[in-house]
């Protein structure tokens, strides 16, 4: 296998290497990609959409349809992980570990066992629990709000600076994931349940598709945000900018929710019991 692989790879590589001879020089301002379609974006985007970040303008407007499916891809991945991994039959784990908070004694309860009656001061812990996690917990408690605010900023400010729905959404999701890692998965799921992630995931994509469909209802083409001008009370160019913001928010919601969803399923192998 190794040798076959090597041969295939070398054949493939030399074929591509041969092709590279005929490429335009790297960074050549006169190469076709720089001359054909992109100049329109660079020169007209600001006049047509009022968004200075060209990537956002192209992403959410000119090629907004691609982006809608990009979000759908993420959503599909979330669904796929859910379908593949999630174990919904409630099964009692082999053993559970409980820690008595005041004393720090760990109780190991075998399958089917019950917790002592005065269970108020017990907390369930993961099997790979480490006692000295104060620094991690405090740091994450400290960082999480900033992370979330930054994520919102990235989503909202994507028009003017690098960033946008995806990046912001991933950061927002990462904040939750960090919480789940530093505390434990059960607590995170208590806060943001699986149902919430799943429904928010579809809601986010639905915001995107719904915005597009609204434009269609208003008589323009699908995703032609200019049609929203009347609804938003601004001129069509600004309406495009606002429309992009709406869909970016949708993307942000969907991406963050789905990232968390995938993490839940992946980190507990679908049992939503013990995470990392």
């Amino acid at each position: 296998m190794r040798i076959i692989g090597l041969l295939i790879v070398i054949a493939f590589g030399s074929l591509l290497r041969y092709g590279v001879f005929f490429f335009p020089e790297w960074g050549d301002p006169a190469s076709p990609p720089s001359l054909h379609v992109s100049p329109h974006y660079i020169e007209e985007a600001i006049a047509e959409t009022a968004v200075p970040n060209l990537v956002t303008a192209v992403l959410a407007d000119y090629r907004g349809y691609d982006t809608m499916f990009e979000t759908t891809v993420i959503f599909a991945a979330g669904l796929a992980c859910f379908m593949l991994l999630r174990v919904l039959q409630r099964q009692v784990p082999e053993c559970r570990l409980y820690r008595h908070i005041p004393t720090g004694i760990t109780l190991r309860i075998e399958k089917g066992g019950k917790l002592p009656t005065e269970s108020g001061s017990f907390e369930r812990i993961d099997s790979n629990w480490v006692p000295h996690d104060l620094i991690i917990k405090s740091t994450s408690r400290f960082i999480t709000p900033f992370l979330q605010i930054f994520a919102l900023y990235v989503i909202a400010h994507g028009h003017h600076s690098p960033g946008g729905g995806f990046q912001g959404g991933v950061i927002l999701g990462a904040a939750v994931i960090m919480y789940a890692i530093s505390y434990d998965l059960r607590r995170s799921i208590q806060r943001i349940g699986e149902q919430a992630t799943a429904v928010l995931g579809s809601a986010g994509v639905l915001i995107y598709a719904g915005t597009g469909a609204l434009c269609m209802v208003l008589g323009a083409a699908f995703l032609d945000y200019g049609a929203l001008a009347g609804l938003l009370g601004v001129d069509p160019v600004m309406a495009r900018s606002h429309g992009m913001l709406i869909v970016e928010i949708g993307v942000g919601i969907a991406v963050s929710a789905v990232m968390v969803w995938i993490y839940y399923n992946l980190s507990s192998a679908g049992r939503h019991d013990e995470g990392l």
């Binding site: 493939f12 591509l16 990609p33 660079i42 970040n53 891809v73 600076s161 690098p162």
Partner: protein, 133 residues
């Protein structure tokens, strides 16, 4: 010829990097035995393609594709295409990155499932188990 070749390499070394990364990724996918290694290889392969696209966007003497003093379209100076890097491949590659992470998620989910089924991530061991059955 040698000089020509060298100057060709010098002016296109980025594309060569792409080719090398693709070879690495493809090799891992074909020849590696471990499923997670294959998945890593797959991701390297995908990022190599992303690098290729990003390289096509590069433009000497241009800056990042965010219009300066262009707030709300009031800065009425003429914008020259040569001043900014081509944004289109960037957009495409945002999509490609997202696709690759989605694929990664599904691949890992499948790998975890395979592990739970066979107790191993090595392909030859799995194949051996299947043959014995």
């Amino acid at each position: 010829m040698g000089v020509e070749l060298f100057s060709d390499i010098a002016s296109k070394y980025n594309y060569l990097g792409v080719v090398i990364l693709m070879m690495i990724g493809l090799y891992a996918m074909i020849a590696k035995n471990n499923l997670v290694k294959k998945i890593i290889g797959m991701n390297i392969f995908q990022t190599a393609i992303i690098l290729f696209y990003v390289s096509t966007a590069a433009k000497r003497g241009a800056t990042i594709p965010i219009i300066r003093h262009g707030h709300n379209g009031h800065g009425h100076e003429v914008i020259h295409a040569a001043e900014y890097i081509n944004p289109l491949p960037h957009v495409l590659m945002l999509t490609a990155i997202v696709v690759s992470v989605a694929t990664l998620g599904v691949a890992l989910a499948l790998a975890v499932k395979v592990y739970h089924q066979y107790g191993t991530l090595e392909e030859d061991e799995i194949r051996g188990q299947l043959r014995n059955k």
